[in-house]
Symmetry: C2
Amino acid sequence: MMCRTERIEQALRTYMTEDASASLLKESMSYSLLDGGKRIRPQLLLLITEMLGGKEDEAMPFACALEMIHCYSLVHDDLPAMDNDAMRRGKLSCHARFGEGNAILVGDALLTKAGMLLLAQDGHDEAKRAIFEGAYAMVSGQSDDLNLKERTAETLERIHLNKTGALFRAACTAGAYLSDPAKAETMREFGDAIGLLFQMTDDLLDEEKDRLEDKLTYVTFYGREVTKACIETEYKRADAILAPYAGEAAETLRNLIQLLRSRTY
Amino acid sequence: MMCRTERIEQALRTYMTEDASASLLKESMSYSLLDGGKRIRPQLLLLITEMLGGKEDEAMPFACALEMIHCYSLVHDDLPAMDNDAMRRGKLSCHARFGEGNAILVGDALLTKAGMLLLAQDGHDEAKRAIFEGAYAMVSGQSDDLNLKERTAETLERIHLNKTGALFRAACTAGAYLSDPAKAETMREFGDAIGLLFQMTDDLLDEEKDRLEDKLTYVTFYGREVTKACIETEYKRADAILAPYAGEAAETLRNLIQLLRSRTY
Protein backbone atom coordinates (compact mmCIF):
# COMPACT_ATOMS: atom_id res chain seq x y z
CA MET A 1 0.00 0.00 0.00
CA MET A 2 1.24 3.47 -0.88
CA CYS A 3 1.81 6.08 1.78
CA ARG A 4 0.22 9.53 1.66
CA THR A 5 3.13 11.30 -0.06
CA GLU A 6 3.28 8.54 -2.68
CA ARG A 7 -0.42 8.98 -3.37
CA ILE A 8 0.12 12.74 -3.75
CA GLU A 9 3.05 12.07 -6.10
CA GLN A 10 0.94 9.69 -8.17
CA ALA A 11 -1.97 12.13 -8.38
CA LEU A 12 0.35 14.97 -9.49
CA ARG A 13 1.80 12.68 -12.16
CA THR A 14 -1.69 11.71 -13.35
CA TYR A 15 -2.76 15.36 -13.68
CA MET A 16 0.40 16.09 -15.66
CA THR A 17 -0.17 13.23 -18.10
CA GLU A 18 -3.94 13.56 -18.66
CA ASP A 19 -3.13 15.39 -21.86
CA ALA A 20 -1.07 12.90 -23.89
CA SER A 21 0.52 15.47 -26.22
CA ALA A 22 4.24 16.14 -25.95
CA SER A 23 5.56 19.67 -25.64
CA LEU A 24 8.45 21.47 -24.05
CA LEU A 25 5.95 23.21 -21.75
CA LYS A 26 4.70 19.91 -20.40
CA GLU A 27 8.23 18.54 -20.07
CA SER A 28 9.45 21.61 -18.18
CA MET A 29 6.35 21.74 -15.96
CA SER A 30 6.84 18.07 -15.06
CA TYR A 31 10.55 18.67 -14.45
CA SER A 32 9.72 21.29 -11.83
CA LEU A 33 6.61 19.70 -10.32
CA LEU A 34 7.43 16.00 -10.08
CA ASP A 35 10.07 13.99 -8.19
CA GLY A 36 11.02 16.51 -5.59
CA GLY A 37 9.74 18.42 -2.65
CA LYS A 38 8.50 17.30 0.74
CA ARG A 39 4.85 17.86 -0.25
CA ILE A 40 4.15 19.38 3.18
CA ARG A 41 1.29 21.65 2.03
CA PRO A 42 -0.74 18.97 0.21
CA GLN A 43 -0.09 16.53 3.07
CA LEU A 44 -1.40 19.11 5.52
CA LEU A 45 -4.55 19.63 3.48
CA LEU A 46 -5.21 15.87 3.30
CA LEU A 47 -4.43 15.33 6.99
CA ILE A 48 -6.77 18.09 8.18
CA THR A 49 -9.51 16.80 5.86
CA GLU A 50 -9.13 13.27 7.24
CA MET A 51 -8.79 14.35 10.87
CA LEU A 52 -12.13 16.18 10.51
CA GLY A 53 -13.90 13.23 8.87
CA GLY A 54 -13.57 14.11 5.16
CA LYS A 55 -12.45 11.90 2.28
CA GLU A 56 -8.94 11.84 0.78
CA ASP A 57 -10.24 11.15 -2.75
CA GLU A 58 -12.31 14.30 -2.74
CA ALA A 59 -9.52 16.40 -1.22
CA MET A 60 -6.71 15.16 -3.51
CA PRO A 61 -7.33 17.60 -6.43
CA PHE A 62 -7.33 20.50 -3.94
CA ALA A 63 -4.09 19.23 -2.37
CA CYS A 64 -2.46 18.92 -5.80
CA ALA A 65 -3.65 22.38 -6.92
CA LEU A 66 -2.04 23.80 -3.78
CA GLU A 67 1.24 22.02 -4.54
CA MET A 68 1.17 23.34 -8.14
CA ILE A 69 0.79 26.86 -6.74
CA HIS A 70 3.68 26.31 -4.32
CA CYS A 71 5.78 24.94 -7.18
CA TYR A 72 4.99 27.86 -9.53
CA SER A 73 6.12 30.26 -6.79
CA LEU A 74 9.44 28.41 -6.46
CA VAL A 75 10.05 28.50 -10.22
CA HIS A 76 9.45 32.27 -10.36
CA ASP A 77 11.31 32.86 -7.07
CA ASP A 78 14.43 31.19 -8.46
CA LEU A 79 14.57 33.53 -11.49
CA PRO A 80 17.59 35.84 -11.80
CA ALA A 81 15.39 38.91 -11.22
CA MET A 82 14.22 37.39 -7.92
CA ASP A 83 16.41 35.11 -5.74
CA ASN A 84 18.65 34.00 -8.63
CA ASP A 85 19.00 30.37 -7.55
CA ALA A 86 20.49 27.96 -10.08
CA MET A 87 19.70 24.89 -7.95
CA ARG A 88 16.42 23.65 -6.54
CA ARG A 89 15.64 20.33 -4.86
CA GLY A 90 19.05 18.92 -5.73
CA LYS A 91 18.88 19.64 -9.46
CA LEU A 92 19.12 22.63 -11.79
CA SER A 93 16.33 25.14 -11.21
CA CYS A 94 13.81 25.54 -14.02
CA HIS A 95 15.41 28.60 -15.65
CA ALA A 96 18.91 27.14 -15.31
CA ARG A 97 17.71 24.06 -17.17
CA PHE A 98 15.22 25.50 -19.71
CA GLY A 99 16.05 29.23 -19.88
CA GLU A 100 14.37 32.24 -18.31
CA GLY A 101 11.57 32.65 -20.85
CA ASN A 102 10.47 29.05 -20.43
CA ALA A 103 10.69 29.26 -16.64
CA ILE A 104 8.37 32.29 -16.65
CA LEU A 105 5.89 30.32 -18.75
CA VAL A 106 6.25 27.19 -16.57
CA GLY A 107 5.27 29.21 -13.50
CA ASP A 108 2.35 30.80 -15.33
CA ALA A 109 1.19 27.41 -16.62
CA LEU A 110 1.40 25.74 -13.20
CA LEU A 111 -0.71 28.48 -11.61
CA THR A 112 -3.19 28.25 -14.49
CA LYS A 113 -3.32 24.45 -14.24
CA ALA A 114 -4.00 24.74 -10.50
CA GLY A 115 -6.98 26.97 -11.35
CA MET A 116 -8.23 24.51 -13.98
CA LEU A 117 -7.92 21.63 -11.56
CA LEU A 118 -9.96 23.45 -8.90
CA LEU A 119 -12.59 24.56 -11.43
CA ALA A 120 -12.93 20.98 -12.69
CA GLN A 121 -14.29 19.96 -9.25
CA ASP A 122 -17.98 20.35 -8.50
CA GLY A 123 -18.98 22.43 -5.50
CA HIS A 124 -16.63 23.11 -2.57
CA ASP A 125 -16.50 26.80 -3.49
CA GLU A 126 -15.17 27.82 -0.07
CA ALA A 127 -12.20 25.46 -0.35
CA LYS A 128 -11.42 26.73 -3.86
CA ARG A 129 -11.58 30.34 -2.68
CA ALA A 130 -9.34 29.61 0.34
CA ILE A 131 -6.65 28.25 -1.99
CA PHE A 132 -6.69 31.20 -4.39
CA GLU A 133 -6.85 33.67 -1.51
CA GLY A 134 -3.74 31.97 -0.17
CA ALA A 135 -2.06 32.28 -3.56
CA TYR A 136 -2.81 35.99 -3.62
CA ALA A 137 -1.61 36.60 -0.06
CA MET A 138 1.59 34.73 -0.94
CA VAL A 139 2.40 36.95 -3.93
CA SER A 140 1.57 40.01 -1.87
CA GLY A 141 4.06 38.85 0.79
CA GLN A 142 6.71 38.24 -1.86
CA SER A 143 6.18 41.76 -3.14
CA ASP A 144 6.49 43.26 0.36
CA ASP A 145 9.70 41.27 0.84
CA LEU A 146 11.17 42.35 -2.53
CA ASN A 147 10.38 46.02 -1.85
CA LEU A 148 11.33 46.00 1.81
CA LYS A 149 11.41 49.50 3.25
CA GLU A 150 11.45 49.19 7.02
CA ARG A 151 12.80 46.51 9.27
CA THR A 152 10.16 46.41 12.02
CA ALA A 153 8.57 43.56 13.95
CA GLU A 154 5.25 44.32 12.19
CA THR A 155 6.82 44.11 8.72
CA LEU A 156 8.59 40.87 9.60
CA GLU A 157 5.39 39.27 10.83
CA ARG A 158 3.24 40.53 7.94
CA ILE A 159 5.71 39.32 5.33
CA HIS A 160 6.06 35.86 6.81
CA LEU A 161 2.37 35.40 7.59
CA ASN A 162 1.84 36.06 3.88
CA LYS A 163 4.90 34.86 1.99
CA THR A 164 5.23 31.48 3.69
CA GLY A 165 2.18 31.38 5.92
CA ALA A 166 -0.47 31.94 3.28
CA LEU A 167 -0.24 28.51 1.66
CA PHE A 168 -0.06 26.73 5.03
CA ARG A 169 -3.15 28.66 6.11
CA ALA A 170 -4.86 27.84 2.79
CA ALA A 171 -4.01 24.13 3.20
CA CYS A 172 -5.56 23.96 6.66
CA THR A 173 -8.58 26.17 5.93
CA ALA A 174 -9.39 24.32 2.70
CA GLY A 175 -9.02 20.99 4.51
CA ALA A 176 -11.65 22.14 7.02
CA TYR A 177 -14.00 23.38 4.27
CA LEU A 178 -13.70 19.96 2.62
CA SER A 179 -14.75 18.13 5.79
CA ASP A 180 -16.12 20.22 8.68
CA PRO A 181 -16.57 23.91 7.68
CA ALA A 182 -17.43 24.86 11.29
CA LYS A 183 -13.74 24.21 12.09
CA ALA A 184 -12.41 26.51 9.34
CA GLU A 185 -11.45 29.33 11.72
CA THR A 186 -9.64 27.03 14.17
CA MET A 187 -7.80 25.27 11.36
CA ARG A 188 -6.86 28.61 9.90
CA GLU A 189 -5.18 29.38 13.20
CA PHE A 190 -3.46 26.00 13.11
CA GLY A 191 -2.21 26.95 9.63
CA ASP A 192 -0.79 30.21 10.96
CA ALA A 193 1.01 28.40 13.78
CA ILE A 194 2.51 25.72 11.55
CA GLY A 195 3.46 28.33 8.92
CA LEU A 196 5.38 30.35 11.52
CA LEU A 197 6.92 27.15 12.92
CA PHE A 198 8.10 26.26 9.42
CA GLN A 199 9.43 29.76 8.67
CA MET A 200 11.25 30.23 11.98
CA THR A 201 12.95 26.85 11.84
CA ASP A 202 13.84 27.57 8.21
CA ASP A 203 15.41 30.86 9.27
CA LEU A 204 17.50 29.06 11.89
CA LEU A 205 18.64 26.44 9.38
CA ASP A 206 19.44 29.11 6.77
CA GLU A 207 21.55 31.01 9.26
CA GLU A 208 23.55 27.85 9.94
CA LYS A 209 24.15 27.58 6.18
CA ASP A 210 25.33 31.21 6.30
CA ARG A 211 23.09 32.29 3.44
CA LEU A 212 21.15 35.06 5.08
CA GLU A 213 23.02 38.13 3.85
CA ASP A 214 20.89 41.17 4.67
CA LYS A 215 17.50 39.46 4.58
CA LEU A 216 14.88 40.26 7.17
CA THR A 217 14.30 37.00 9.08
CA TYR A 218 13.36 36.03 12.61
CA VAL A 219 17.00 35.23 13.33
CA THR A 220 18.45 38.47 11.91
CA PHE A 221 15.76 40.51 13.66
CA TYR A 222 15.34 38.77 17.04
CA GLY A 223 18.46 36.59 17.30
CA ARG A 224 18.64 32.80 17.79
CA GLU A 225 17.43 32.56 21.36
CA VAL A 226 14.26 34.61 20.94
CA THR A 227 13.51 32.75 17.69
CA LYS A 228 13.84 29.42 19.51
CA ALA A 229 11.45 30.62 22.21
CA CYS A 230 8.95 31.70 19.53
CA ILE A 231 9.24 28.27 17.92
CA GLU A 232 8.24 26.71 21.25
CA THR A 233 5.25 29.07 21.49
CA GLU A 234 4.02 28.24 18.00
CA TYR A 235 4.59 24.53 18.55
CA LYS A 236 2.47 24.64 21.71
CA ARG A 237 -0.25 26.67 19.98
CA ALA A 238 -0.43 24.12 17.15
CA ASP A 239 -0.30 21.14 19.53
CA ALA A 240 -3.13 22.57 21.67
CA ILE A 241 -5.37 22.86 18.60
CA LEU A 242 -4.75 19.17 17.83
CA ALA A 243 -5.42 18.05 21.43
CA PRO A 244 -9.12 17.13 21.00
CA TYR A 245 -8.39 14.82 18.05
CA ALA A 246 -7.43 11.15 17.89
CA GLY A 247 -6.77 8.75 15.01
CA GLU A 248 -4.04 8.27 12.40
CA ALA A 249 -4.37 11.72 10.76
CA ALA A 250 -4.20 13.56 14.09
CA GLU A 251 -1.21 11.44 15.17
CA THR A 252 0.59 12.17 11.90
CA LEU A 253 -0.07 15.89 12.35
CA ARG A 254 1.32 15.72 15.89
CA ASN A 255 4.43 14.00 14.51
CA LEU A 256 4.74 16.59 11.77
CA ILE A 257 4.80 19.57 14.12
CA GLN A 258 7.25 17.73 16.41
CA LEU A 259 9.50 17.07 13.42
CA LEU A 260 9.34 20.70 12.36
CA ARG A 261 10.18 21.88 15.86
CA SER A 262 13.08 19.47 16.24
CA ARG A 263 14.68 19.88 12.81
CA THR A 264 16.93 22.61 14.15
CA TYR A 265 18.20 20.63 17.16
CA MET B 1 -24.72 57.18 -19.74
CA MET B 2 -21.43 55.30 -19.93
CA CYS B 3 -20.59 53.19 -22.93
CA ARG B 4 -19.60 49.54 -22.66
CA THR B 5 -15.83 50.11 -22.54
CA GLU B 6 -16.30 52.76 -19.84
CA ARG B 7 -18.35 50.30 -17.79
CA ILE B 8 -15.57 47.71 -18.20
CA GLU B 9 -13.00 50.32 -17.15
CA GLN B 10 -15.05 51.24 -14.10
CA ALA B 11 -15.52 47.60 -13.08
CA LEU B 12 -11.78 46.89 -13.40
CA ARG B 13 -11.06 49.95 -11.26
CA THR B 14 -13.57 48.81 -8.64
CA TYR B 15 -12.01 45.33 -8.43
CA MET B 16 -8.59 46.93 -8.00
CA THR B 17 -9.70 49.20 -5.17
CA GLU B 18 -11.90 46.77 -3.18
CA ASP B 19 -8.96 46.24 -0.88
CA ALA B 20 -8.19 49.73 0.46
CA SER B 21 -4.62 48.97 1.57
CA ALA B 22 -1.75 50.62 -0.26
CA SER B 23 1.15 48.57 -1.57
CA LEU B 24 3.59 48.62 -4.44
CA LEU B 25 1.98 45.43 -5.75
CA LYS B 26 -1.41 47.12 -6.01
CA GLU B 27 0.10 50.24 -7.52
CA SER B 28 2.00 48.28 -10.16
CA MET B 29 -0.97 46.01 -10.95
CA SER B 30 -3.18 49.08 -11.44
CA TYR B 31 -0.49 50.72 -13.57
CA SER B 32 -0.56 47.78 -15.98
CA LEU B 33 -4.28 46.98 -15.84
CA LEU B 34 -6.02 50.36 -15.88
CA ASP B 35 -6.13 53.26 -18.36
CA GLY B 36 -5.04 51.48 -21.46
CA GLY B 37 -5.96 48.77 -23.87
CA LYS B 38 -8.86 48.44 -26.26
CA ARG B 39 -10.67 45.97 -23.97
CA ILE B 40 -11.62 43.87 -27.01
CA ARG B 41 -11.81 40.55 -25.16
CA PRO B 42 -14.08 41.71 -22.30
CA GLN B 43 -16.23 43.61 -24.80
CA LEU B 44 -16.60 40.44 -26.86
CA LEU B 45 -17.65 38.45 -23.80
CA LEU B 46 -20.27 41.05 -22.84
CA LEU B 47 -21.54 41.43 -26.42
CA ILE B 48 -22.00 37.68 -26.94
CA THR B 49 -23.74 37.41 -23.56
CA GLU B 50 -26.13 40.22 -24.45
CA MET B 51 -26.74 39.04 -28.01
CA LEU B 52 -27.81 35.67 -26.61
CA GLY B 53 -30.14 37.19 -24.00
CA GLY B 54 -27.90 37.22 -20.90
CA LYS B 55 -27.26 40.04 -18.44
CA GLU B 56 -24.25 42.38 -18.48
CA ASP B 57 -24.13 42.66 -14.68
CA GLU B 58 -23.71 38.93 -14.30
CA ALA B 59 -21.14 38.72 -17.10
CA MET B 60 -19.00 41.68 -15.99
CA PRO B 61 -16.79 39.82 -13.45
CA PHE B 62 -16.07 37.17 -16.09
CA ALA B 63 -15.21 39.87 -18.64
CA CYS B 64 -12.87 41.58 -16.15
CA ALA B 65 -11.19 38.28 -15.17
CA LEU B 66 -10.49 37.68 -18.85
CA GLU B 67 -8.96 41.14 -19.23
CA MET B 68 -6.78 40.56 -16.14
CA ILE B 69 -5.51 37.35 -17.75
CA HIS B 70 -4.81 39.16 -21.02
CA CYS B 71 -3.01 41.89 -19.10
CA TYR B 72 -0.87 39.45 -17.06
CA SER B 73 0.22 37.84 -20.34
CA LEU B 74 1.31 41.23 -21.72
CA VAL B 75 3.30 42.05 -18.57
CA HIS B 76 5.19 38.74 -18.74
CA ASP B 77 5.51 38.89 -22.55
CA ASP B 78 7.25 42.28 -22.31
CA LEU B 79 9.96 40.94 -19.97
CA PRO B 80 13.57 40.95 -21.21
CA ALA B 81 13.62 37.13 -21.30
CA MET B 82 10.56 37.17 -23.59
CA ASP B 83 9.85 39.97 -26.13
CA ASN B 84 11.91 42.59 -24.26
CA ASP B 85 9.57 45.53 -24.87
CA ALA B 86 10.18 48.69 -22.83
CA MET B 87 6.95 50.33 -24.00
CA ARG B 88 3.35 49.16 -23.78
CA ARG B 89 0.17 51.09 -24.53
CA GLY B 90 2.07 54.37 -24.91
CA LYS B 91 3.86 54.22 -21.58
CA LEU B 92 6.76 52.31 -19.99
CA SER B 93 6.07 48.60 -19.75
CA CYS B 94 5.69 47.17 -16.24
CA HIS B 95 9.28 45.93 -15.83
CA ALA B 96 10.72 49.12 -17.36
CA ARG B 97 8.78 51.10 -14.76
CA PHE B 98 8.95 48.84 -11.66
CA GLY B 99 11.82 46.41 -12.37
CA GLU B 100 11.80 42.82 -13.53
CA GLY B 101 11.12 41.18 -10.18
CA ASN B 102 8.05 43.31 -9.59
CA ALA B 103 6.80 42.73 -13.14
CA ILE B 104 6.99 38.96 -12.63
CA LEU B 105 4.94 39.35 -9.43
CA VAL B 106 2.45 41.73 -11.11
CA GLY B 107 1.73 39.12 -13.79
CA ASP B 108 1.38 36.38 -11.17
CA ALA B 109 -0.91 38.55 -9.05
CA LEU B 110 -3.14 39.52 -12.00
CA LEU B 111 -3.64 35.87 -12.97
CA THR B 112 -4.33 35.00 -9.33
CA LYS B 113 -6.78 37.88 -8.97
CA ALA B 114 -8.58 36.71 -12.12
CA GLY B 115 -8.99 33.30 -10.47
CA MET B 116 -10.25 34.87 -7.23
CA LEU B 117 -12.75 36.99 -9.13
CA LEU B 118 -14.14 33.97 -10.96
CA LEU B 119 -14.28 31.89 -7.78
CA ALA B 120 -16.15 34.70 -6.00
CA GLN B 121 -19.08 34.21 -8.42
CA ASP B 122 -21.72 31.59 -7.65
CA GLY B 123 -22.39 28.93 -10.27
CA HIS B 124 -21.55 29.37 -13.96
CA ASP B 125 -18.88 26.66 -13.70
CA GLU B 126 -18.73 26.15 -17.48
CA ALA B 127 -17.96 29.83 -18.09
CA LYS B 128 -15.24 29.79 -15.41
CA ARG B 129 -13.70 26.66 -16.93
CA ALA B 130 -13.79 28.15 -20.44
CA ILE B 131 -11.78 31.15 -19.23
CA PHE B 132 -9.08 29.14 -17.46
CA GLU B 133 -8.88 26.67 -20.36
CA GLY B 134 -8.29 29.69 -22.58
CA ALA B 135 -5.56 30.92 -20.25
CA TYR B 136 -3.84 27.54 -20.41
CA ALA B 137 -4.08 27.28 -24.20
CA MET B 138 -2.61 30.77 -24.43
CA VAL B 139 0.48 29.92 -22.37
CA SER B 140 0.90 26.71 -24.33
CA GLY B 141 0.84 28.75 -27.58
CA GLN B 142 3.39 31.17 -26.15
CA SER B 143 5.66 28.26 -25.29
CA ASP B 144 5.35 26.77 -28.79
CA ASP B 145 6.20 30.17 -30.23
CA LEU B 146 9.20 30.67 -27.93
CA ASN B 147 10.57 27.23 -28.76
CA LEU B 148 9.76 27.28 -32.44
CA LYS B 149 11.33 24.36 -34.27
CA GLU B 150 9.65 24.07 -37.65
CA ARG B 151 8.07 26.70 -39.84
CA THR B 152 5.08 24.81 -41.24
CA ALA B 153 1.48 25.85 -41.93
CA GLU B 154 0.35 23.52 -39.12
CA THR B 155 2.72 25.12 -36.59
CA LEU B 156 1.65 28.61 -37.64
CA GLU B 157 -2.03 27.78 -37.24
CA ARG B 158 -1.60 25.92 -33.96
CA ILE B 159 0.45 28.71 -32.40
CA HIS B 160 -1.96 31.44 -33.40
CA LEU B 161 -5.12 29.52 -32.55
CA ASN B 162 -3.60 29.22 -29.09
CA LYS B 163 -1.41 32.24 -28.43
CA THR B 164 -3.90 34.87 -29.63
CA GLY B 165 -6.99 32.81 -30.40
CA ALA B 166 -7.41 31.16 -27.01
CA LEU B 167 -8.64 34.25 -25.14
CA PHE B 168 -10.94 35.29 -28.03
CA ARG B 169 -12.36 31.76 -28.02
CA ALA B 170 -12.70 31.88 -24.23
CA ALA B 171 -14.50 35.25 -24.41
CA CYS B 172 -17.08 33.96 -26.89
CA THR B 173 -17.56 30.53 -25.32
CA ALA B 174 -17.92 31.97 -21.82
CA GLY B 175 -20.38 34.58 -23.13
CA ALA B 176 -22.54 31.74 -24.48
CA TYR B 177 -22.31 29.75 -21.24
CA LEU B 178 -23.48 32.86 -19.38
CA SER B 179 -26.57 33.24 -21.55
CA ASP B 180 -27.46 30.36 -23.90
CA PRO B 181 -25.18 27.33 -23.36
CA ALA B 182 -26.66 25.56 -26.41
CA LYS B 183 -24.81 28.12 -28.53
CA ALA B 184 -21.41 27.50 -26.92
CA GLU B 185 -20.01 25.49 -29.85
CA THR B 186 -21.12 28.05 -32.46
CA MET B 187 -19.75 30.94 -30.43
CA ARG B 188 -16.49 29.06 -29.94
CA GLU B 189 -16.22 28.96 -33.74
CA PHE B 190 -16.99 32.69 -33.85
CA GLY B 191 -14.17 33.18 -31.36
CA ASP B 192 -11.77 31.24 -33.59
CA ALA B 193 -12.73 33.35 -36.61
CA ILE B 194 -12.39 36.68 -34.82
CA GLY B 195 -9.13 35.55 -33.20
CA LEU B 196 -7.63 34.73 -36.60
CA LEU B 197 -9.04 37.97 -38.04
CA PHE B 198 -7.33 39.87 -35.23
CA GLN B 199 -4.01 38.02 -35.57
CA MET B 200 -3.82 38.24 -39.37
CA THR B 201 -4.60 41.96 -39.47
CA ASP B 202 -2.08 42.43 -36.64
CA ASP B 203 0.55 40.60 -38.70
CA LEU B 204 -0.15 42.90 -41.67
CA LEU B 205 0.10 46.01 -39.48
CA ASP B 206 3.29 44.76 -37.83
CA GLU B 207 4.87 44.15 -41.21
CA GLU B 208 4.12 47.74 -42.20
CA LYS B 209 5.87 48.85 -39.03
CA ASP B 210 8.83 46.70 -40.08
CA ARG B 211 9.05 44.91 -36.75
CA LEU B 212 8.70 41.31 -37.84
CA GLU B 213 12.34 40.21 -37.93
CA ASP B 214 12.33 36.42 -38.23
CA LYS B 215 9.00 35.76 -36.52
CA LEU B 216 6.62 33.17 -37.91
CA THR B 217 3.51 35.13 -38.94
CA TYR B 218 0.84 34.81 -41.62
CA VAL B 219 2.60 37.52 -43.61
CA THR B 220 6.11 36.05 -43.38
CA PHE B 221 4.76 32.57 -44.18
CA TYR B 222 2.06 33.20 -46.80
CA GLY B 223 2.81 36.76 -48.00
CA ARG B 224 0.51 39.78 -47.96
CA GLU B 225 -1.94 38.75 -50.68
CA VAL B 226 -2.74 35.31 -49.31
CA THR B 227 -3.07 36.77 -45.81
CA LYS B 228 -5.55 39.37 -47.10
CA ALA B 229 -7.58 36.60 -48.76
CA CYS B 230 -7.59 34.63 -45.47
CA ILE B 231 -8.79 37.76 -43.65
CA GLU B 232 -11.77 37.93 -46.03
CA THR B 233 -12.52 34.25 -45.39
CA GLU B 234 -12.45 34.66 -41.60
CA TYR B 235 -14.48 37.86 -41.82
CA LYS B 236 -17.19 36.06 -43.83
CA ARG B 237 -17.16 33.10 -41.45
CA ALA B 238 -17.66 35.42 -38.46
CA ASP B 239 -20.29 37.50 -40.25
CA ALA B 240 -22.29 34.39 -41.22
CA ILE B 241 -22.42 33.27 -37.60
CA LEU B 242 -23.88 36.66 -36.63
CA ALA B 243 -26.46 36.63 -39.46
CA PRO B 244 -29.41 35.24 -37.44
CA TYR B 245 -29.08 37.91 -34.75
CA ALA B 246 -30.54 41.41 -34.48
CA GLY B 247 -30.34 44.11 -31.79
CA GLU B 248 -27.65 46.45 -30.47
CA ALA B 249 -25.17 43.79 -29.34
CA ALA B 250 -25.31 41.95 -32.68
CA GLU B 251 -24.92 45.24 -34.57
CA THR B 252 -21.92 46.21 -32.45
CA LEU B 253 -20.35 42.81 -33.10
CA ARG B 254 -20.92 43.28 -36.85
CA ASN B 255 -19.23 46.67 -36.63
CA LEU B 256 -16.37 45.19 -34.63
CA ILE B 257 -15.50 42.54 -37.20
CA GLN B 258 -15.81 45.13 -40.00
CA LEU B 259 -13.44 47.41 -38.13
CA LEU B 260 -10.96 44.59 -37.60
CA ARG B 261 -11.11 43.67 -41.28
CA SER B 262 -10.68 47.23 -42.45
CA ARG B 263 -7.95 48.35 -40.04
CA THR B 264 -5.28 47.34 -42.57
CA TYR B 265 -6.80 49.24 -45.51
